[in-house]
């Protein structure tokens, strides 16, 4: 698995957000905090509503 060219080395944390279900824009996201082989720490999430992947930072 790769993030912007970097291969994911390890998963530090993973968590889930299911919230704001009572609004027009419900939130359902699965987050991963990963470390890449290049030593970069990044947070990515998959939006479970639209099914797409995003990178937080």
């Amino acid at each position: 698995m790769r993030i912007e060219g970097d291969t994911v080395d390890a998963v530090r944390e993973s968590w889930l957000i299911e919230d704001r279900w009572w609004t027009d824009r419900p939130l359902r996201r699965r987050y991963w905090e990963v470390v890449t082989t290049a030593g970069r720490d990044s947070i990515v999430f998959r939006d479970l509503v639209d099914g797409r992947w995003y990178r937080q930072r």
């Binding site: 944390e13 968590w15 905090e33």
Partner: protein
């Protein structure tokens, strides 16, 4: 045993932190493949018995425990040192920030006892008398250490569990490595994995095993959403604003063992530990908890009971008494039955409690008073059918004379303890409860808990607020709601708001969430009167918590859980009418010097029965409601036996069973033709249904019919009755049905058709009904109260007014009805009224000063004491100086008209007096809060209230007079009643202009004529038995009007029907000859009664605006030397607005609360 066992789950009994009923958890757990599961609610075991019972029935192994809050050890008094600001709210309870959680699981019986003791300790300080607000329950680590035996301790949840090594080491020392587990959870929050890695390391260092748990808060996704809403409710916040304290996802829904195993893939040992640990937790809550009631095992109890009965026997049935022989036989039979069932101790205990009540009655009533002649309490319910109860004083009804059937109360086959319910006057009951705590030991007695549940109205308000919906609209929806089932909130929104809002956004969520919340327990409360006493400390069986009222405590279980645990519940009920009857007897003694012994009054008084037959029973016990009055006109009771039937007749059982109309028709037929033959479906029914003319009106007749007609044994017949009244499984009822029909055909050769018909009569009765014994007890009190009403009208009214709330009618309606039959009622007056109501020498009822709303009881008492000591008040100034009441209270007294007499000399016109009194009061007792300069610039501190000085006052300026309408509003606002002009009389011109007829004009109307009527709503009802029809009772200045509103019209005009205090209706006038003169108006159109030209516009209401006007007047007076508002050097003052109405005379805001849709009285 599956690989993963859930050891941490919350039910809705965690109150706003869990959304599943215990039974729902059990069902869901089994569906998802669990074989065992623990219930660990927050600081409570309230759901444990339900959980155990459901699990036992469905085949899940229940493990018991609780998640217990632990407060900081270094701060042992922390409940008293709540840090404001940082405190977290749970429900309406302040929770100190330092609370941590541990999960306790019960290993053995000893462990259960320790858990109960710990929870009792956790709650002991939650109602600290010195602090007004409830405090969150908690224990210290020391408490935990002292109760460690038999318990397994998990270190607690991911959010609030114990983390620090010193604390965990202390737990380890107390629980040992076999009794402690480090708890790992995976809520899918951001730092889970790091936390679990850390905890695992800590566990390794300490040599303690880890265990995985799921922290379940819901059993379905829908409920997980409700859980989010509950968090918002708990935090007094909204869903939008409570995000930081929410879980953030729905990982707390109960899932499968497999899913949990993979969730903890990093910690397989912790998963395996769940099953290993669960296997050790073998405590079974459904086994004997060791509860025994006092005398339960007393070998001499049978002889004691026999002695008590024989000692009383001769006074009840003296030699030569015509029923003596029958009574001897009945007593022998009952004593043998009771002994055989091992229940002698049960009766001895009840007798002892009644004797205690007798002692208390002497103290409370005083010696030699009129009421001291009355028994201390009396039985209700089926126990009244027992001669043992009669002789031990537990009942006041002779079961032989009344031919009462015992089988419903006692039979050879009963398996549960029988019920003895006792009614007491309120003051005696209030004293009895703490005395029982004292007599049996504070550890050995407690009240039974109750759990108010989410219903439509509460759900709409609370969840609506959490969703952030507009408060005004929420309120409209809540008021339009039917109030009971929260399944139809969609319709409520439709009705209140229209425009398809129920399908829109958050309103749609309200519909869904309200439905999910229906029936979930909301908080812990107290049962109306159930008391548990035990031979061993109750805390060994169930945790005990302080009740809201000081000196009372209760177990954490409701009546069903108590019954499942085998607890004996004694019902000690407060009955308002008993209090009122005692008060009335006392008043009669004081005023007329007559000592009335209600047990010796004539029971064949024609005047009493004539009154009852005319339906003039307002204020009387049980037979006063709208439906009862209508029925009285047709049944025309002539004896106490008739009244026994009468109080039982307007109940769901007889109504749905189709007994009411045949009974009434046969009564009428018999009245017209004494030779009328009452038809019976089968000859065997004659003996058991003769009294009720071939219909089933009493609960016990179901049993008697099953025995006489179908050959059932008493136990079998009682089983049939129970199966039907509880709507148990269809299968059980079907089995009884077959046995019934077969039995009837076999024993009496009845045809299948007749057997079926009789069975249907019984099935119809499945709703609630009275046992005959209960009817006899209540019928007697109905007669006694009518007798008081007929012969001592003013005293009776005065007693009723002082015992409110009670009965069907609000005090205002009681007063108007009394006035219509010539009883004078006068308004409160500071110089002649007492604290309570009383009767003047001329026989008028004078409303007490206690009726003035917002005046504290101690202020009223001080005022009356000052008057008795120093003579009547001579002026407003004198009142202000001597009464000892604060300015706001005096203002309310003045506005109620209670000070009118003090200004009558100088203000000749009555309409001007209230304002004049208020004005003088403003000048005499300005109620000015004096503030002095404090430290720092611009800072002031309160220095107290300026005292009233008996200074001569200037004359009041010319203030506008109070119109009649405005005075009436002021009456209602200050006292809830008006004694002068009826509000409808004030609207009579308006009503006439609109062509409405008053009750005074009814005599001239014909049956079937179109009519328009208007009046004040006194009651609204929609009985479940009436197919959606709404009955409204209106009152005008001359009488009452029954309105019948069809379901269609109700649907159309729901707000007018439900909420308007004054209505005008068009409809058809009905006076059926068979209805005995009863008048109904079948409504076609209904709308609020508005009075556009009432004197409202001409005379302004007294309001802050008037204060401005007053000040202007005073300003004008200034030049003439009137006092100015003082302004001293370092002192400033602030004026409190006068305590009077400000809402422009809107009657809606002050209308007396009335009986409205079975929700008790509402405005």
């Amino acid at each position: 045993m599956s690989s993963y066992v859930e050891l941490h789950a919350h039910s809705a009994f965690s109150f706003l932190d869990g959304t599943a009923q215990p039974e729902e958890l059990v069902v869901a757990a089994l569906e998802r493949g669990h074989t065992a599961m623990a219930l660990t609610d927050h600081d409570t075991i309230s759901g444990s018995m339900e959980f155990a019972q459901a699990a036992g029935a469905l085949g899940l192994r229940a493990i018991h425990g609780a998640e217990v809050s632990v407060r900081d050890e270094r701060d042992p008094a922390s409940p008293d040192h709540v840090v404001p600001g940082r405190a977290v709210l749970r429900g309406a309870v302040w929770e100190p920030p330092a609370l941590r959680h541990v999960t306790l699981l019960v290993r053995s019986e000893l462990g259960w006892r320790n858990l109960c003791r710990l929870l009792t300790r956790a709650h002991a300080h939650t109602r600290d008398a010195t602090r007004r607000r409830a405090i969150a329950p908690s224990v210290t680590l020391t408490d935990l250490a002292e109760h460690a035996e038999g318990l397994v301790c998990l270190t607690g949840c991911a959010q609030q569990g114990l983390r620090d090594e010193p604390s965990i080491r202390r737990l380890l020392a107390a629980f040992g490595p076999e009794g402690l587990r480090v708890e790992l959870q995976r809520p899918f929050a951001r730092h889970d994995r790091a936390l679990n890695r850390g905890l695992e390391g800590l566990a390794r260092r300490l040599g303690v095993a880890c265990v995985a748990t799921g922290n379940v808060h819901a059993h379905t996704w829908e409920r997980a959403r409700l859980q989010d809403a509950f968090v918002a409710i708990r935090e007094h916040s909204t869903l939008d604003a409570s995000e930081p304290v929410r879980r953030g996802n729905h990982a707390h829904v109960l899932t499968t063992p497999e899913a949990m195993t993979s969730r903890f893939a990093d910690h397989p040992e912790a998963v395996a530990e769940t099953a290993r640990l669960a296997a050790e937790l073998r405590f079974d809550l459904t086994a004997d908890l060791g509860y025994r009631y006092p005398y339960a095992d007393d070998a001499g109890a049978a002889r004691t009971l026999q002695g008590i009965c024989h000692a009383a026997f001769d006074s009840r049935y003296p030699p030569g008494h015509k029923r003596r022989e029958e009574a001897v036989a009945r007593l022998d039979e009952e004593l043998r039955l009771i002994d055989g069932l091992g229940l002698s101790g049960f009766f001895t205990l009840h007798h002892e409690i009644l004797e205690l009540a007798r002692e208390i009655a002497v103290e409370v009533r005083g010696v030699g008073t009129a009421r001291s002649l009355l028994p201390p309490g009396r039985g209700r319910g089926s126990s009244v059918s027992s001669i043992v109860c009669y002789l031990t004083g537990l009942s006041h009804i002779d079961p032989i004379k009344n031919a009462l059937f015992l089988g419903r109360f006692l039979n050879e086959e009963i398996t549960a303890l029988p019920d003895i319910d006792l009614d007491f006057p309120r003051d005696i009951r209030a004293e009895l409860i703490p005395r029982i705590h004292r007599q049996f030991g504070p550890d050995h007695s407690a009240l039974v808990a109750a759990f108010p549940t989410f219903r439509a109205r509460g759900a709409i308000r609370e969840i609506g607020k959490a969703l952030g919906l507009p408060p005004g609209e929420i309120e409209r929806v809540a008021r339009a709601s039917e109030g009971f089932a929260a399944f139809k909130v969609e319709e409520d929104i439709q009705r209140a708001l229209g425009d398809g809002r129920e399908k829109l956004g958050r309103w749609e969520w309200l519909v869904k969430l309200a439905e999910e919340s229906h029936g979930l327990p909301r908080h812990l409360s107290q049962h109306s009167g159930g008391m548990i006493v035990a031979t061993r400390p109750l805390v060994d069986c169930c945790a005990v918590v302080p009740a809201a009222m000081e000196g009372r405590q209760m177990v954490m279980w409701d009546k069903d859980s108590c019954a499942d645990a085998g607890f004996l519940k004694i019902d000690l009920l407060g009955l308002g009418m008993l209090s009122a009857a005692e008060r009335c007897v006392e008043l009669i003694g004081k005023r007329r010097g007559e000592f009335v012994d209600l047990s010796r009054i004539p029971y064949d008084d024609p005047e009493v029965y004539e009154t009852i037959q005319r339906g003039e029973t307002t204020g009387v016990f049980q037979i006063e409601s709208r439906a009862q009055m209508a029925s009285l006109l047709r049944t025309k009771p002539e004896t106490l036996d008739d009244l026994t039937i009468q109080v039982a007749i307007v109940r769901p059982g007889p109504i749905q069973g189709g007994a009411v109309n045949p009974y009434i028709a046969r009564r009428q037929a018999l009245r017209e033709n004494p030779d009328f033959e009452v038809p019976y479906d089968h000859p065997t029914l004659r003996a058991v249904l003769e009294d009720t003319l071939g219909t089933i009106i009493f609960q016990d007749q179901v049993i008697e019919v099953a025995m006489a007609f179908a050959g059932f044994s008493p136990g079998e017949a009682e089983g049939l009755r129970r199966a039907m009244s509880r709507k148990r499984s269809e299968a059980a009822i079907r089995a009884y049905h077959e046995r019934f029909v077969e039995g009837a055909m076999r024993t009496h050769g009845a045809s299948a058709e007749v057997a079926q018909r009789v069975y249907e009569m019984i099935v119809g009765f499945s709703g609630f009904g009275f046992p005959k014994a209960h009817g006899a007890a209540f019928g007697l009190l109905a007669y006694q109260s009518t007798w008081l009403r007929v012969h001592y009208g003013p005293e009776f009214l005065s007693a009723l007014l002082d015992e409110q709330p009670m009965g069907f009618y609000p005090p205002d309606a009681l007063i108007h009805e009394a006035q219509r039959r010539g009883i004078a009622v006068v308004a409160p007056d500071v110089n002649s009224s007492g604290v309570g109501c009383d009767v003047t020498a001329e026989g008028a009822v004078r409303v007490g000063l206690g009726y003035v709303v917002g005046v504290r009881a101690d202020e009223v008492e001080a005022l009356v004491a000052a008057r008795e000591e120093g003579g009547p008040f001579t002026s407003v100034e004198d009142l202000a100086a001597r009464a000892g009441a604060g300015r706001p209270s005096l203002g309310k007294l003045a506005w109620s008209g209670a000070c009118d007499a003090l200004v009558s000399a100088e203000v000749p016109l009555a309409g001007h007096r209230r304002r004049a009194a208020l004005w003088r009061l403003g000048a005499a007792a300005p109620g000015v809060r004096v503030r002095v300069r404090g430290s720092g610039p611009g800072r002031t501190v309160e220095a107290g209230v300026q005292l009233a000085l008996p200074l001569p006052l200037p004359e009041a300026p010319a203030l506008p007079a109070l119109g009649a309408w405005e005075a009436m509003i002021a009456d209602y606002r200050t006292t809830g009643v008006t004694t002068t002009t009826h509000p409808v009389a004030l609207l009579r011109d308006e009503l006439e202009a609109q062509g409405a007829v008053g009750t005074a004009g009814f005599a001239e109307l014909r049956h079937g004529q179109r009519v328009r009527v208007g009046g004040l709503v006194v009651a609204r009802q929609r009985p479940g038995t009436a197919k959606g029809i709404v009955f409204m009772l209106l009152e005008d200045e001359a009488g009452t009007i029954n309105l019948i509103v069809s379901p269609e019209l109700y649907d159309r005009e729901r707000l007018a029907v439900r909420t308007e205090p004054l209505v005008i209706a068009d409809g058809v006038f009905e006076r059926h000859p068979a209805a005995g003169g009863q008048v109904n108006v079948v409504v076609k159109q209904i709308r609020p009664l508005e009075a556009p030209d009432r004197p409202l516009a001409a005379i302004k209401d007294f309001s802050p605006l008037d204060l401005v006007e007053l000040e202007r007047n005073m300003g004008a007076d200034r030049d003439r030397g009137a006092p100015r508002r003082a302004r001293f050097g370092g002192l400033q003052e602030t004026e409190e607005p006068a305590a009077t109405g400000t809402d422009g005379g809107d009657f809606r805001a002050v209308a007396p609360p009335v009986m409205s849709f079975a929700q008790g009285r509402r405005r």
